[in-house]
Amino acid sequence: MKKYNVILLLIDGARIDRLFQFPIFKKLKQDGCFFSQMITNAPYTLVAMNSLFTGMYGSKNGINAYNKMFQHPKTDCKTLAEYLTKHGWYTRGDAMRLSLVSDRGFTKMTSQEDDPDPDFIKIHKKILEETISEANKQPFFLYLHYPKIHHSIKKNVFDKYDDFSNEYFENKKNNLTHYDTYLKEAADYLEEMYLKILDDKLDTNSIILIMADHGMGIGEKIGERAYGIFTYDYSLRTFAYFIQPKIFSKGKEISGLTRTIDIMPTILDLLEIPIDKSCLTMQGESLLNSINQSTTDEDSEFNKIAFSETGGLLGPWPSPDSPNVECVRTEKWKLVHNLTPETWELYNLKDDPQETKNLVNKYPIIVKKLKDKLQLIIDECADF
């Protein structure tokens, strides 16, 4: 077993296409391995985080809808924190809200949800210091969730507009400018935290993981102000940095399709922690193989599939009890099934990354292939 610390810095709602205007994101890329096509299984924190920490889709671990707040994944799931605690790690988290992620397995989980204006740089630096001290030379797992982009979206978007407000959807440029200011603040936070980690020489014995739980819309599609309602790439496509000089080559970019459910199996693989076969099987796969593969085989287009699901709280067809939008995605194709109006959408993501041309009637064979993949995953989620 390899006793690296694991430090997860999670930037809620960070858009991958806006990162590189800020030097810290370039610096992180130089220092580690950057996964640039990582797909989240749900475009909102609750389901995304519980999936991240169980290595499986929400429809398998039980947390697959907004109304599943405050719940834990099924008892048969073993969470990342449970694995690590069992094998001698000290586990500590600071969540966005305690309703949004299960604390199962964590030695200590807090949230700054009652603080009206938390200074995350100060607070998280302090938590990092406390963690080092409380771990008392054990390895530790620290999960720090930076939620301020969401706070700004709440104040400037959710509180002002609904999912159909003309004023909002007609001002995308403006919305993007505002968004960049929120991301700038996140970049400042990240820079400070990363410097602190380097100053404390934690990079020598830690795997540093920096990622987002989901992206963020700025009014691309009427019916969704920001996220949680549809499954378009602006909210599904995210990223992850893995930094540990002894394991990951510096400056490497993995541009192939990966999934946030692959993160947990990757960490367990890196730490050489054996998988507990008595628990529900994870659906994610370790990414260590893809790090070593240099190119993607053309034929493998349909081999790796990312599945995502959501059911909006608002929007055109709310479904807070169970997901009613499902999608499967390859590097090139995305098939979306909107269960409520019972419609299908197919996009060629290479030619049409904005997902504006629905090709569902044009490529029946691709649609059939992807529908079969979708059904397989749905059936797999129902397997116990």
Partner: protein, 446 residues
């Protein structure tokens, strides 16, 4: 010792295909159950689709209370499976392998509880599914009392009839022949149980369309394949895409003309019968289902009063003597009425799924006298009223002539829907709901 409970649900089984003189299927085993048990020939499912109606059955709640957009089985805190389990029942199941069944799977004790529901490997009773059921029955003998829920999809499209039953002798339609086949295999399952110690329920989740003269819209549409193949051979490749579009458009026009010609001779009921499967509909062919209670000293009786599938579990609860629940369900026990005259209650009806965008989303009320329904989102649109006693096939919409009855039915409907969910929840549920709502506000979602 409490009796065992065998609950058989045959997806899409119509009442008129198993009871009465008009059926052409051969069903000796179901006949035996109706002869020896109590059967209801006016049982109404509260929705025209599986999930909504299962939610109604398991929770004994009208669909609008379990979530009209539900795509999964939802077992509320007051569902009957939990109640049975809490009172010593071992729960077993044999259900289609669909995500929508996850909630029930959490309860069942047997491993092989799910079977393939999708072609090409869809499992039918006649293709060995009976053996799975019998295998489970054999394995649970030592786990009494048990509750065993079986859901069969033999009548669900694609309808594939067992060759042994695919002749006129067994029915005048593929559907009727499939019913004959189902009866045969159900007989094999039922003979494995001791009916003295077992309460048997046979019912369905909704009805089905049986195309007039076995001609569905697909049979009327001209076959394009030959034309397309010839076209592909003789025309240059650059014209294929346009050519195919032209072919499809031509086919649609021909279908329309042919259908209009054919339909001229047909009644509205017969025209409806040729609509595509899963067309949202609250007509009786889609909501009137068989209901039989047999075994465990259930007396022999036919009841023709209107009852609802959401009455099934309160009835089971009374027969097996579970403690009475407080008044949190919409159903009521039919047990006391097995020997007495029943007081009818209007049945709430809703199409499934409750689609925000679908214009066919319909809500209604049924009594044994009238059927009333209209668009769910606009009480003034698509108003239908049928006199079920004079016009059981619902051919003549009498809404315009009887605005007084429409008004009365609308009042019943609004009274039913005005009872919101909170009133039927336990205080614990209410607290969770409030807590979640508060959280949504804090997150800025509401």
């Amino acid at each position: 010792m409490k009796p065992n409970i065998l609950f058989i649900l045959v997806d899409g089984l119509r009442m008129d295909q198993v009871f009465g003189n008009k059926r052409t299927s051969i069903t000796p085993n179901i006949d035996k159950l109706t002869k020896n048990g109590t059967y209801f020939d006016q049982a109404i499912s509260n929705a025209d689709g599986t999930v909504l109606n299962l939610n109604s059955i398991f929770n004994s709640l009208r669909p609008h209370k379990t979530g009209l957009r539900a795509i999964n089985l939802i077992l509320t805190n007051t569902n009957y499976v939990t109640q049975l389990r809490d009172h010593g029942y071992h729960v077993f199941g044999l259900v289609p392998k669909l995500t929508s069944y996850s909630a029930l799977i959490d309860y069942v004790e047997n491993d092989e509880a799910r079977y393939n529901a999708h072609p090409p490997n869809k499992e039918y009773l006649w293709k060995g599914l009976d053996q799975k059921a019998i295998g489970i029955l054999d394995s649970i003998k030592s786990c009494e009392p048990w509750f065993f829920f079986l859901h069969f999809l033999d009548l669900h499209p694609p309808l594939l009839v067992d060759k042994k039953f695919d002749s006129e002798k067994f029915g005048d339609s593929p559907y009727a022949r499939a019913v004959s086949s189902i009866d045969y295999w159900l007989g094999k399952i039922i003979e494995k149980i001791d009916l003295k110690q077992t309460l048997l329920i046979l019912t369905s989740d909704h009805g089905n369309l049986i195309p007039k003269d076995n001609k569905s819209i697909n049979d009327i549409a001209p076959d394009l394949k030959t034309g397309l193949n010839v076209g592909k051979r003789i025309m240059p490749k650059s014209t294929h895409s346009v050519g195919a579009k032209l072919f499809v458009a031509t086919r649609d026009i021909i279908t329309k003309v042919k259908l209009a010609k054919e339909n001229k001779k047909l009644t509205p009921y017969e025209i409806r019968s040729r609509r595509p499967p899963f067309t949202l509909s609250l007509y009786d062919e889609n909501v009137r289902v068989p209901l039989i209670f047999a075994g465990y000293n259930i007396s022999s009786k036919k009841i023709s009063h209107q009852v609802q599938t959401l009455d099934i579990f309160p009835t089971i609860a009374e027969i097996v003597k579970l403690p009475k629940k407080s008044n949190m369900t919409d159903g009521r026990s039919l047990f006391g009425t097995f020997g007495d005259k029943i007081t009818e209650k209007p049945a709430y009806l809703h199409t499934m799924p409750y689609q925000a965008m679908s214009p066919d989303d319909t809500v209604g009320i049924r009594t044994s006298k009238y059927k009333y329904f209209r668009y769910a989102r606009d009480s003034k649109e698509n108003i239908n009223l049928y006199d079920l006693q004079k016009d059981p096939q619902e051919n003549h919409n009498i809404a315009k002539q009887h605005s007084d009855i429409v008004k009365e039915m609308e009042q019943i409907l609004s009274k039913m829907t005005s009872h919101n969910l909170e009133k039927h929840e336990s205080s614990e549920d209410e607290n969770v709901r409030k807590k979640i709502e508060e959280e949504y506000k804090k997150l800025g979602y509401l």
